[in-house]
């Protein structure tokens, strides 16, 4: 397997807080890598440095061999990185299908037109994505009125719209029922394997993590304290202290 994402020695501090310290890992094509850790461990901060929203104080991020540190989020997206946010970010006044179409139009570079009508193109593509995430029946609804778990699905559909090489998912199943969580991540894992997408995700639901991840890395107070297969992590003493004796 080839590494789609390579992270080396990532650092980020906010004022006095060292949010992320010397984090290194790789994700390969088709692999599901879970990044877990207690609240405030620095997971979201890591994500934000990977898609260009924050710039790291130090460290290298390579996407398929290319250094992407310092590029803007929109440029990194064009290089094939899709992402979902911990706090969902969708276009609340637009319809569900329109949200996905926005991503498809953007991918095709067709958002500049002032005179065409939006919405005629990429309908079938949008519907295909929506049916994948189980949102086709709500395609006509406005995003602003959706339940939280459904918003997460819309985000996933949007993240898949540019046929990403790398998918970053920050707590993708928050707000869903336990069964739905496993189902959604199974779907993601299926897509990842079929299309060779590298997936990095965080998740607080350990059932999801241990059943879906190929590999798990554990972050605590900004530092990676363990990494390995689900079985290795399950039996790792350091991880147990963090999770049993720590904040969780």
């Amino acid at each position: 397997m080839t590494a789609v994402l390579q992270v080396e020695g990532l650092h980020k501090a906010f004022g006095g807080v060292q949010a992320v310290a010397d984090v290194s890992f790789t994700v390969s094509a088709g692999e599901m890598l879970a990044l877990i850790g207690p609240n405030g461990a620095g997971k979201s901060t890591c994500f934000n440095m990977l898609n260009g929203q924050l710039s790291p104080d130090l460290g290298i991020v390579r996407l398929e061999g290319r250094d992407i540190v310092g590029l803007r989020p929109r440029t990194i997206w064009r290089l094939g990185v899709g992402r979902t946010f911990q706090i969902t970010a969708t276009f609340a006044s637009l319809g569900v299908r329109e949200n996905v179409q926005m991503a498809l139009y953007s991918h095709a570079g067709r958002l500049r037109s002032m005179l065409q009508r939006f919405g005629a193109a990429f309908r079938t593509e949008a519907d295909a994505l929506l049916s994948q995430v189980g949102m086709l029946d709500q395609a006509e609804r406005t995003c602003g009125v959706l339940a939280y778990g459904d918003l997460k699905r819309v985000e996933l559909a949007m993240a898949l719209a540019n046929q990403p090489r790398l998918l970053l998912m920050d707590e993708p199943t928050a707000g869903m029922a336990p069964k739905e969580r496993v189902a959604l991540m199974e779907l993601t894992a299926g897509l990842a394997r079929a299309r060779g997408i590298a997936v990095l995700f965080t998740e607080h639901d350990m059932d999801v993590v241990f059943s879906q991840a190929d590999r798990i890395i554990v972050l605590d107070r900004g530092q990676l304290i363990a990494g390995g297969t689900p079985d290795e992590i399950r039996n790792n003493a350091a991880v147990r202290t963090v999770y049993l004796g720590g904040t969780h």
Partner: protein, 625 residues
């Protein structure tokens, strides 16, 4: 300049800084706690001056009379502030932010006419301050001792405010609310009382700032909007909600202005530069500069993140062709049955409709509120007039080129504006409008100064009022149709998407700033078209077309009709223009009537007229079902 004249200018600047600081501190305090941009704050300042004038007449020109008059005037203005808060604003705290703004515009109109009624249209020159009517000699120059007193008052008030804010429970609440409005509600503090007290304090500061100016400046009816522009600039330069920042900014701007006057005209390498003409512009230049370098002002912090996300905007629905055609047919038919007067009024309405629709485009779907949209309307009008008069172009060519000129200004202004958001953005737009106004106002030889450009009449084939109405209808109708069409294009969807979630927009590859900039230029050009059509319909154009009042008229039209609907701005423009015309013919106090009507509408229909009527219709349908 010699050392002594530098000193003079410095003292002069510091003296005017004091009042500016008082007004801005009040504005900042109110904004910090209530998140209301109080446009009526300048009106409170104006009332302070008038109040002090009258009270001095009553109490006598003795030191005791003078100073009790100043204090009483400030307290009276404080009570006026409480009345505004309790009677109006308290009822709209839950309404969308922009509606609160509309309410404060209405208050501005009402207060202006109350002042006109009570004190008449003439400037009132107040007495000098007894005991401080002499001059002090410093470095051989004479400085009014009252100026020195004012210089001392600024820091004293700053110290008092600082003590109040840091040493009292009230101050702790104000600081907490400024940082996080929701938290105060959660702590179980009586929010209504806190807001009322903050309004009182802010209004007292404005009133005191005004009252103290009575020996230096005559009371007049234009002070309200003039001082609100200054106060906005100072608040924004200093940082919203920061009292210390307001002090710093007031000094910076007061001194810069004084120096511009003091330097006068200088000859630099044969190039004559008139600094005194810069006075009107210099504060806005400082503001534009500060905002680009420090987007939250000198001492400001990024605005506290609102925990409860603002209500998402409802989806837009496109007007149907059938409706549009019916309306077009009606508008085409009206001159056939109505008289000349109605045709002229309709021409006005059509121009303002395009103006309002272009403003709505940028503040509604694009999410960038502009307090200075008249800049583009006015610059378009001036471009038309000047291309016609100065460049000698045929009227038709001037009309077509004018929007391009307005758009060219929007390219420059917009570049700065899209770097900011929210209130800061709104105030920067106001600053650019004011810069444009100052330049047009002062450049006598080119723009005709305060007289404006006269004798810009349409070509012979358009001279007939009805024919010109059809031209206006065609130009503005096409402009509106174009803007609406754009709203439903990929570009328009991108704007709406960027307003809903800038984060997601960027994360799907959208260059949001670029898109917003393009939108700025687009609406600038179309507002310019509206202005050009308007200019030729009137035969003249004056600086008032760029004024703050013109900008707020546009905001009132949009908000009156409702931001959430596409047709709202047109309805708002029609009603506002028609009502103003009707009322102005009947009474001198048309502003108060307009303000009263707006207040009633604000209190009854917090979603605007069209939105409110739609909601009513919906409820009616539900009841029948």
């Amino acid at each position: 300049m010699t050392l002594s004249s530098i000193l003079i200018q410095l003292l002069n600047g510091l003296a005017s800084a004091s009042s500016l600081f008082l007004v801005s501190a009040g504005l900042s305090l109110i904004f910090g706690v209530t998140r209301i941009v109080n446009f009526a704050h300048g009106s409170l300042y104006m009332l302070g001056l008038y109040g002090a004038y009258t009270l001095i007449e009553v109490l006598g020109r003795t030191p005791l009379g003078f100073w009790s008059a100043v204090v009483l005037a400030a307290l009276a203005v404080g009570i006026a502030g409480v009345l505004i808060e309790v009677l109006v604003l308290r009822r709209v705290y839950r309404a969308p932010e922009l509606f609160q703004l509309l309410a404060t515009f209405a208050v501005v109109l009402v207060i202006k006419d109350i002042a006109l009624f009570a004190w008449g249209p003439e400037d009132l020159v107040g007495p000098r301050a007894p005991g401080f009517d002499t001059a002090v000699e410093i470095l051989g120059k004479r400085i009014p001792s009252y100026d020195l007193l004012l210089i001392a008052i600024g820091p004293v008030v700053l110290a008092v405010l600082w003590l109040l804010l840091t040493r009292t429970r009230w101050g702790a609440l104000v600081r907490a609310a400024t940082q996080d409005r929701e938290m105060v509600g959660a702590l179980g503090v009586d929010q209504a009382k806190l807001f009322t007290s903050v309004f009182f304090a802010g209004a007292v500061l404005a009133g005191l700032g005004g009252a103290l100016q009575i020996p230096r400046e005559p009371a007049n009816l234009d002070l309200d909007l003039a001082i609100i522009a200054d106060a906005f600039v100072i608040t924004v330069v200093g940082g919203l909600g920061s009292i210390g920042g307001a002090f710093l900014a007031a000094i910076l701007i007061g001194v810069a202005k004084a120096f511009c006057i003091g330097i006068g005209t200088v000859d630099w390498f044969g190039l004559e530069i008139s600094f005194s003409k810069l006075t009107l512009v210099v504060e806005f230049l400082i503001m534009a500069l500060v905002l680009v370098v420090r987007p939250y002002g000198l001492l400001g912090k990024p605005q506290a993140v609102q925990r409860i996300a603002a209500e998402p905007s409802p989806p837009l629905t496109a007007p149907t062709w059938k409706m549009a055609l019916v309306w077009m047919a009606v508008l085409v038919a009206v001159p056939l049955v109505a008289d000349r007067y109605v045709t002229i009024l309709l021409t006005d309405i059509v121009c303002f409709a395009l103006f309002a629709v272009s403003l709505h485009f940028i503040m509604g779907p694009a999410g960038m509120v502009s307090f200075g949209h008249a800049a583009y309307f006015g610059l378009g009008a001036y471009a038309a007039g000047l291309l016609f008069k100065q460049a000698g172009l045929p009227m038709e060519a001037a009309l077509l080129l004018a929007p391009l000129c307005a758009g060219a200004f929007a390219i420059v202004y917009g570049w700065f504006c899209v770097r900011l958001s929210g209130v800061y953005l709104a105030m920067l737009t106001l600053a650019f409008a004011q810069i444009s106004w100052s330049i047009v106002f002062q450049w006598d030889s080119f723009t005709g100064g305060s007289n404006g450009v006269l004798g810009i009449w349409p070509s012979a084939w358009l001279a007939d009022k009805t024919t010109y109405y059809y031209l206006a209808l065609a130009c503005c109708g096409l402009g509106i149709a174009f803007l609406w069409r754009v709203l439903f294009s990929p570009f328009g969807f991108t704007l709406r998407a960027g307003r809903d979630s800038p984060l997601r927009a960027e994360a799907i590859g959208i260059d949001l700033r670029g898109v917003q900039w393009a939108a700025f230029v687009l609406v600038g050009a179309l507002a310019g078209l509206a202005g050009a059509v308007y200019a030729f319909s009137k035969g003249s154009i004056s600086p008032s077309a760029i004024s703050i009042a013109q900008s707020t008229d546009g905001l009132i039209m949009v908000l009156l009709g409702g931001v959430e609907t596409l047709t709202g701005p047109i309805v708002g423009a029609a009603i506002f223009t028609w009502l103003r015309d009707e009322v102005a013919r009947r009474t001198e106090f048309w502003r108060a009537v307009m303000g009263g009507v707006i207040l009633v509408i604000v209190l009854l229909f917090p979603q605007g007229l069209v939105g409110g009527l739609k909601a009513l219709a919906l409820r009616w349908q539900e009841q029948r079902a």
